[in-house]
């Protein structure tokens, strides 16, 4: 009896736990929907669950751009039709030679430290970014920007060294948030890191590291962007910007009512939340999608046929749609994502699952079927290394998709070695040379197809470009992109960018996998939360509670 009891008990306990857990899955929190005649209530605090805590409010990460755009206003904003609209700048113009941009500022706007938002401050911010204040802003301006100066209190002039027709489009990103010159020059780095002073709808009140940042309403706010839904101060009193790293916990916090909105909704929770009445928003970030670019200078992928064979060996669409639960969109284009102006559908459709073609191409390239299922040539196995920034650049869904890629390529005879690279090693530059990797995985958000310039400009000793992840130096491709960058007419420019994408596809330099998403789930009692159109960050300025 005793022996039976002692063995049965743990099993019993296990069974009990399982039942509890299963029961937990059955119940899904139905949102408490407000009545049909619910009206707006004044004030309130939005509790928002975000996934990652940055080191500083303002910086070069997209997570920082989301956060800092609550606090800092930009010069210009992007509307839903992808048109650049006024924000701190009322109007702007460019000289016929495309080298001088002039911005006229809104009148009577002040930073929250009381100093005016004037031309001098704007000019100072440009130099501040280029001097290391924001490394991502710097990447966008470097090579084009030469100087900024105040013409008068309300007019600022930006001088370029070469034409940059899409300058204002790029300035809509959160990396270009304007800060008080006085705050930047007179306060410590720590203060500017934790509570940058801008003219935005909210100000940083307190930052409880590891937990949340409390953003209080700017009671003197006068400068919303032209595409905002109202003017004056924000409707809510404050935002409690919480850091909740675990996706499941984030979703659960929304259904339990602990948060009013969450970022990065797990694909698996999408349908249930939608069915329960939550508002779900999905923004496909423009720019480089999650893609695989091949090492074109050494290893098996130096041979174009092998790159094409790899592309044909994958059923990327089925893989992404299954693992992404129909939420994460498949992206065939390796150059830019489908939400980017100038996107080429032809480039996206270049390769579909075709094992016969893959096999024929590998045969033609001299890789013969080997004993263990992997192809071989002159005694070497068709083995490729695919490192990825685990947990930083590639999230859990992404890691799952990469394992699918590995498995699908195996059927064609590729041995794909997946190497999850820890963040510290990844940012220390491991796996950054042609000797170390055959495939690079990653994305880069942008507003225009100008991202192609960053990712594909030749990497030379005089002008190094370490972002050229395929190590592909080609005058023809670079000429296309440069010509596009310098073209003023948007349609003509996009046609050139399209050609560049098709060139990338034809030579199988990079293939797309899926689009990077910015997703939001919002409680039905919170209205008018929207995603800004440059990077998909949540905008709470127009948001209000209903009851």
């Amino acid at each position: 009896m005793s022996r039976k009891l002692s063995t049965v008990l743990p099993l019993l306990a296990a069974g009990l736990v399982t039942t509890f857990v299963m029961a937990g899955c059955a119940g899904g929190g139905a949102a408490v929907a407000p009545a049909a005649d619910a009206t707006r209530v004044e004030g309130g605090t939005i509790v928002y669950g975000h996934q990652q805590e940055p080191a500083c409010v303002f910086g070069g990460w997209i997570e920082q751009a989301y956060l800092s755009s609550q606090v800092l206003d930009g010069l210009v904003s992007l509307d839903e039709n992808h048109e650049v609209v006024p924000w701190l700048a009322d109007s702007w113009s460019v000289s016929p030679d495309q080298l001088t941009w002039t911005f006229t500022l809104k009148n009577g706007v002040s930073f929250t430290d009381g100093t005016p938002v004037n031309a001098e401050a704007i000019a100072y911010n440009f130099d501040y970014w280029l001097g290391g204040g924001n490394s991502t802003a710097k990447v966008w301006l470097e090579g084009y920007y030469s100087s900024a100066s105040a013409i008068d209190a309300q007019t600022v002039q930006i001088n370029l060294s070469q034409p940059y027709p899409r300058l204002v489009d790029n300035l809509t990103q959160g990396y270009f948030g304007i800060q008080s010159q006085q705050a930047l020059t007179s306060r410590t780095k720590e203060e500017n890191c934790e509570s940058p002073v801008g003219s935005g709808a909210f100000v940083v009140d307190t930052w409880n590291r590891g937990e949340d940042i409390l953003l209080k309403r700017n009671e003197a706010y006068t400068s919303p962007p032209a595409n905002a839904k109202h003017s004056g101060v924000a409707y809510v009193d404050a935002i409690d910007w919480k850091f909740v790293a675990d996706p499941t916990t984030r979703a659960a916090s929304l259904t339990s009512g602990e948060t009013d909105a969450i970022y990065d909704v797990p694909a698996i929770e999408w349908k249930n939340l939608e069915a329960a009445g939550y508002q779900l928003e999905k923004f496909i970030t423009p720019g480089r999608p999650q893609q695989l670019s091949f090492n074109t200078v050494s290893g098996p992928f130096a041979d174009e046929k092998v790159r094409q064979a790899f592309a044909y060996s994958l059923d990327r669409k089925a893989l992404v749609e299954t693992i992404g639960q129909g939420v994460i969109p498949y992206e065939g284009n390796g150059g830019v994502s489908q939400s980017t102006p100038g996107y080429s559908q032809a480039a996206a459709d270049a390769y579909s699952y075709d094992p016969k073609k893959a096999s024929a191409l590998l045969d033609a390239a001299g890789w013969k079927p080997g004993a263990d299922g992997y192809r071989q040539k002159d005694g070497t196995t068709l083995s490729v290394v695919l490192p990825y920034g685990a947990g930083s650049i590639i999230n859990a869904d992404g890691a799952s998709i990469l394992q699918g890629v590995q498995e699908q390529a195996k059927a064609a005879g590729f041995q794909v070695k997946l190497v999850p690279v820890p963040q510290s090693a990844f940012f220390a530059g491991e796996y950054s040379t042609p000797e170390e990797r055959d495939i690079a995985a990653g994305y880069w958000t942008a507003v225009t197809s100008g991202i192609l310039w960053i990712n594909w400009r030749a990497n030379t000793t005089e002008t190094p470009n370490y972002n050229n992840s395929a190590f592909y130096n080609d005058p023809e491709l670079e000429a296309l992109i440069t010509a596009a960058n310098n073209t003023v007419d948007v349609d003509a420019q996009n046609a050139l960018y399209g050609q560049a994408q098709e060139y990338i596809a034809d030579h199988a330099l990079s293939i797309g996998l899926y689009d990077r998403l910015s997703t939001l789930a919002v409680s039905p009692s919170l209205k008018d939360v929207w995603q800004e159109n440059a990077q998909g960050g949540p905008i709470f300025y127009d948001a209000y509670f209903v009851k």
Binding site: T248, E269, S400
Partner: protein, 284 residues
Amino acid sequence: MTTLEVTSLTSSPLPIKRLPLSLILSVVAIVFFLVALIWPAALATHDPSALNLADALHAPSFGYWFGTDEAGRDLYSRVIFGARESLFIGLGATVVSLSLALILGSLAALSGRFVSGTVNRVVEVLFAFPTLLLALLLVALMGPSALTLVLAVGVGTAPGYARIIRGQILTAKGSGYVEAAVALGHSRSKILRQHIFPNAVRPLVAIMTLSVGQSIVWASSLSFLGLGVAPPSSEWGALLDAGRLYLTQAWWLTVIPGLVIVIVALAATTVGKHIQAALEKGEK
């Protein structure tokens, strides 16, 4: 009531001869996973890495005993194939840990004041240095792999065992029969060989089985924090980590690998305790 209590206590709590069911079940579990370690294909029902996109996130059923993951891979077969890496980490870490502990423990107990003092301090420092940080640093240095986990867990758990071994040797050293042997003029090496080491090492068998279970748990914790073995390996901690995203919709991906880890750790511990009890009984 009181007398009853006393008499019941004087009898040995668990006689070894009647093999208890818990021991039998533990041995069965261990044998099962040892088979999985040596010849996984014999137990698996599917190819552990084969995608079956049409059957993604299937609950446990007759076709898929433990259900399937987000890419339709069979969880049962993944658990079976993951046994090799998980047990390798458990056993490997135990070997590293106990070897290190044996060296440090004997040095601390048997060498001169200076060496033993230094070794004691090293053990103290190791104790004060969090195992997790050790693992983080090793992963940053060597990349995430089974070997990294073996080293991290092995080195991290060594100081505890080193202390036990040192205590063991010190007790043996101070015991009557060693004093007698010294009085009889036996050589130092003979005393070490015949009296001290056998007494100090014998309990290691029991400690070892306990440690295997603990090491698997430890290693899976590191995998859970994303410091584990590279995919598509189905090391148990990695399985659990991957399943966490689907917790509310596919409980089996989290619950089953966790139960497997607990069962193996429990089985190893149960066997270890019985070995220990048998040893103590033999001593008496």
